[in-house]
């Protein structure tokens, strides 16, 4: 690719404030040689003019700052979510609107299975939208009594299984005594498993073993297809174990000629001490390539709000549920921050509840004083309930935030009604407050928790509509420009990749999202509906229709 190609487009949104919109972009050696008018680009010498995007709108390749490549793996299972959702091959699966519908879809899939022992796995069930109807093992037994079946909820925190699965796990018996395993009138487990502790013993029998969260080869290839369909050219994989085998697989897959995605996997702080984790990650960093960027750590402070395992400040959960759980002790977080700052390794920290955010800030400040690091860009991920004072502190400490804008749509009503109540539900994912406090901002899907799609995520942050159609938190809406910045430059900044990615600007990677319409011109409510034609990644063209 030594020649120069100049692409003409209906419009090119650059994210470069000096020239926010241009008509042409020149690409050489996978990078942007220049952006501007054709006349401005011609002096670079011989070129080939490519007009295939003449009726398209280009914007910088979108960057998903918080997702899990496991979404690619999950699509091998049966999708039973409430909302319509597109699979890696571009097929849109209709949302399932009743438990009967869920069972029908599982039965259809079951009928096509040839091997009698293979488990049947469903995913993305969300009974919140079905009056919280429960799914028992007897329900799932209607699909099969001989094959183990497991259906994972959208939240990832609940698993429904059939009798066969319980039997194989040795739990189809009376006397099971576990807070996450309700018993039926017959004294036997109902097949509902709440929380990782209850799910783990059965999960392996229904196709949800632990290794699955470490995306495999096919899963990564499928995930990359989803990214092209969403206009994404760089994606994090926000919590990976990054074993030798998985790193070697990722290096292999991302080096393939037509692999369309830059992957940024973060090593999870779990399973090793802070000292080991920092050393391990430092060594990983050395293995980075252009399309596989290693060398960052993800830490998890608390659980989830809808699972009531997030850590809340006073007065706690709206429904009176007891406070959540620490997944990492404050002292361990402090040790991690100190060591990581000293080693120059960036840490992204999951916090959901506002107390977890406060803890992260409280332990970060002294760690930063002890290890002065002017450009650390430590990032708080989710950070859903942070208030203005916390954002102000983050701004002063040089921290970034990646807010869970999609969550607002999918579970906003639940938060309003049940978990945190109206006042705090309105301030959830406070994008506007973050920007006002000069906190560099990204927004995310957390796929597979919600579908990958930065334009949808931008729509969610701009409109703050919940699934029931209410606007929740008018004062926290941001503008379309700000939202588009967050899914490009904003996310790049949180990964220290803003020098290479995030804008269509001379010298940067030739990563573009190719759109059929102009996100800055359509009605803000239509942002999520803009068709994505495909992507250009490192100068290589990936039409979604040809995946």
């Amino acid at each position: 690719m030594t020649g120069t190609t100049i692409y003409a487009a209906r419009k090119i949104i650059t994210m470069n404030p000096n020239q926010p919109e241009v008509s042409h972009v020149a690409v050489r050696e996978g990078r942007i040689l220049g952006a501007g008018s054709l006349a401005e680009l011609e002096p670079w010498g011989d070129y080939e003019l490519d007009t295939r995007f003449a009726d398209k709108v280009l914007m910088p390749g979108m960057i998903e700052g918080h997702a899990h490549t496991m979404e690619g793996t999950l699509w091998r299972n049966v999708y039973v979510g409430w909302f319509d959702r597109m699979d890696p091959d571009g097929k849109v699966w209709d949302g399932v609107k009743s438990i009967e519908g869920v069972l029908d879809r599982l039965s259809e899939a079951e009928a096509q299975m040839t091997d009698a022992d293979t488990p049947l796995s469903g995913w993305s069930l969300d009974p919140i939208y079905m009056d919280n109807q429960r799914v028992s093992r007897q329900d799932l037994d209607k699909v099969s009594t001989t094959r183990p079946i497991g259906v994972l909820h959208a939240s990832g925190h609940i698993l429904n299984v059939n009798s066969k699965a319980l039997e194989q796990a040795g739990l189809l018996k009376p006397g099971v005594n576990h807070p996450g395993i309700p018993l039926g009138d017959d004294g036997m487990p109902t097949g509902e498993l709440y929380g990782p502790d209850a799910m783990t013993p059965v999960a392996g029998f229904v196709g949800y073993d632990r290794a699955m969260t470490d995306c495999d080869e096919r899963g990564l290839l499928d995930y990359a297809k989803l990214c092209v369909r969403a206009g994404v050219t760089t994606s994090t994989d926000l919590a990976a174990r990054l074993t030798d085998d998985s790193v070697s697989m990722m290096l292999d897959v991302t080096a393939r000629n037509r692999f369309p995605l830059r992957v940024v996997p973060l090593r999870i702080f779990f399973g090793m001490s802070a000292e080991e984790c920092v050393e391990y990650t430092k060594a990983l960093k050395e293995q980075s390539t252009d399309l596989l960027r290693l060398g960052r750590i993800k830490a998890v402070a608390d659980g989830s709000i809808q699972g009531f395992s997030a850590r809340m400040r006073w007065p706690g959960y709206h429904n009176g549920a007891p406070n959540g759980l620490w997944y990492t002790a404050p002292d361990q977080m402090s040790e991690l921050y100190n060591r990581a700052l000293a080693a120059g390794i960036q840490v992204h920290t999951h916090t959901n509840g506002d107390q977890a955010t406060q803890m992260a800030l409280d332990v970060f400040e002294p760690a930063l004083r002890a290890n002065p690091s002017p450009d650390h860009r430590f990032t708080i991920q989710h950070c859903q309930l942070a208030d203005a004072a916390q954002f102000a502190k983050m701004g002063k400490l040089g921290m970034c935030v990646n807010l869970f804008a999609n969550h607002h749509f999918y579970w906003g009503d639940e938060h309003y009604r049940l978990t945190v109540g109206p006042e705090r539900a309105m301030r959830m994912n406070a994008t506007r407050t973050a920007l006002a406090a000069n906190v560099p901002l990204a927004i995310h899907s957390d796929a597979p928790v919600t579908p990958l799609g930065p334009l949808f995520t931008a729509w969610a942050a701009v409109n703050r509509i919940t699934a029931s159609g209410r606007t929740q938190g008018e004062g926290e809406k941001i503008g379309v420009d700000q939202a588009l910045y967050a899914i490009t430059m904003g996310a790049a900044y949180t990964l220290h990749l803003d020098a290479e990615l995030g804008s269509i600007e001379i010298g940067k990677r030739a990563d573009f999202a190719v759109l059929d319409d102009d996100p800055t011109a359509v009605d803000a409510m239509a942002l999520k509906d803009i068709p994505v034609w495909g992507t250009v990644q490192g100068g290589r063209i990936f039409p979604a229709a040809e995946l």
Binding site: A169, G170, L171, G175, V176, N177, H178, P179, G180, I181, D197, A198, T200, P201, R210, R241, F269, F270, G271, M272, S273, A274, E275, E276, R311, P322, N323, L325, W326, Y327, T328, A329, P330, D331, Q332, Q355, M359
Partner: protein, 302 residues
């Protein structure tokens, strides 16, 4: 329900960072005295085993002189326990050192879902000097409160760092916070193995008396031949005023069958066995608090 003879007892050791869990683990390994212990260190732990104890180290598995092993359970406690359970030779007793913020009760509940093992004691360590401050901490106070509520044995470590009057106040608070537990005081994690792990091996492996000498603890071993209401005896040993931290053994029931009796803290268990080991009972408690006479009397007159 009958206890399968192959069930491996699992003791869970919890407590916040700095309470002395690692020190206790080292003490247990150093004093294993022929027992094959397997220690699983939590998901954030580096395996800080005293170097003179280490015989070999391979693939993250540390072999300790005398047949004990130690490893970190990484991301997967259940998987690690399954591996241990099916290893050859399988350990006699598994000790799980949880993370500083884990709720031991939740770990025990998970272990209860597994075949081939049985939860055997929840030990929560506290740092005598700092625990009350930690209980009042905004961030970790409720976590420590919940840990203590799960405890069957509370080990008050670093007792030498506080005065007797402070110890009395501490004991009172802990009695309220850990209502189901007995408390034992120690320094440097030096708790006798029998107190933490129980005094008698699993029924299939023969007998052993609780003979560890330690300045702070004492034990009594009896061979009661009479027939008893075994459940009532077990309850009294656990909840009565006899100062028993742990008791374990075999008593003949009024039905003539031999029962397994175990108490940990204030929790007790009495189950008929399908085999007939010789009756015997070992009780352990803090020196000066264990009412040996009372125990002997209980087992003669009952």
């Amino acid at each position: 329900m009958r206890v399968p003879s192959y069930s491996i007892p699992v003791t869970v050791i919890g407590g916040y960072l700095g309470a002395g869990k690692t020190t206790l683990v080292n003490h247990l390994l150093r004093n294993a005295d022929g027992r094959r212990l397997a220690v699983l260190v939590n998901e954030f732990g580096s395996i800080a085993i005293d170097e003179d104890l280490i015989e070999a180290e391979e693939d993250g598995l540390i072999s300790i002189a005398g047949g004990c092993i130690c490893c970190s359970f990484g991301n997967d406690l259940i998987g690690a326990i399954n591996d241990l359970r099916t290893s050859d030779p399988a350990p006699e007793h598994i000790v799980v050192e949880t993370s500083g913020v884990a709720l031991p009760g939740a770990v025990v509940a998970s272990l209860g879902l597994m075949d081939g093992i049985r939860p055997d004691g929840t030990v929560v360590l506290v740092d005598a000097e700092t625990v009350l401050k930690q209980v009042a901490d905004d961030y970790i106070g409720d976590t420590i409160t919940r840990q203590l509520a799960d405890a069957e044995i509370v080990v008050i470590n670093k007792r030498d760092l506080i005065s007797d009057s402070a110890a009395t106040r501490l004991t009172d608070r802990l009695t309220a916070l850990a209502p189901h537990a007995v408390q034992i005081e120690t320094d440097f994690g030096k708790v006798p193995l029998d107190a933490v792990l129980g005094a008698v091996e699993t029924p299939s492996s023969g007998t052993r008396s609780g003979g560890h000498s330690d300045a702070l603890f004492e034990s009594i071993a009896l061979n009661p031949t009479a027939r008893f209401d075994v459940a009532a005896i077990a309850e009294h040993l656990a909840t009565g005023p006899l100062g028993v931290v742990r008791a374990k053994g075999y008593l003949t029931g009024s039905d003539g069958q031999v029962w397994l009796v175990q108490t940990v803290g204030k929790r007790w268990q009495a189950e008929p066995l399908d085999h007939q080991p010789d009756p015997q009972l070992v009780c352990i408690g803090a020196k000066g608090q264990l009412d040996s006479g009372g125990i002997a009397a209980l087992l003669q007159t009952a």
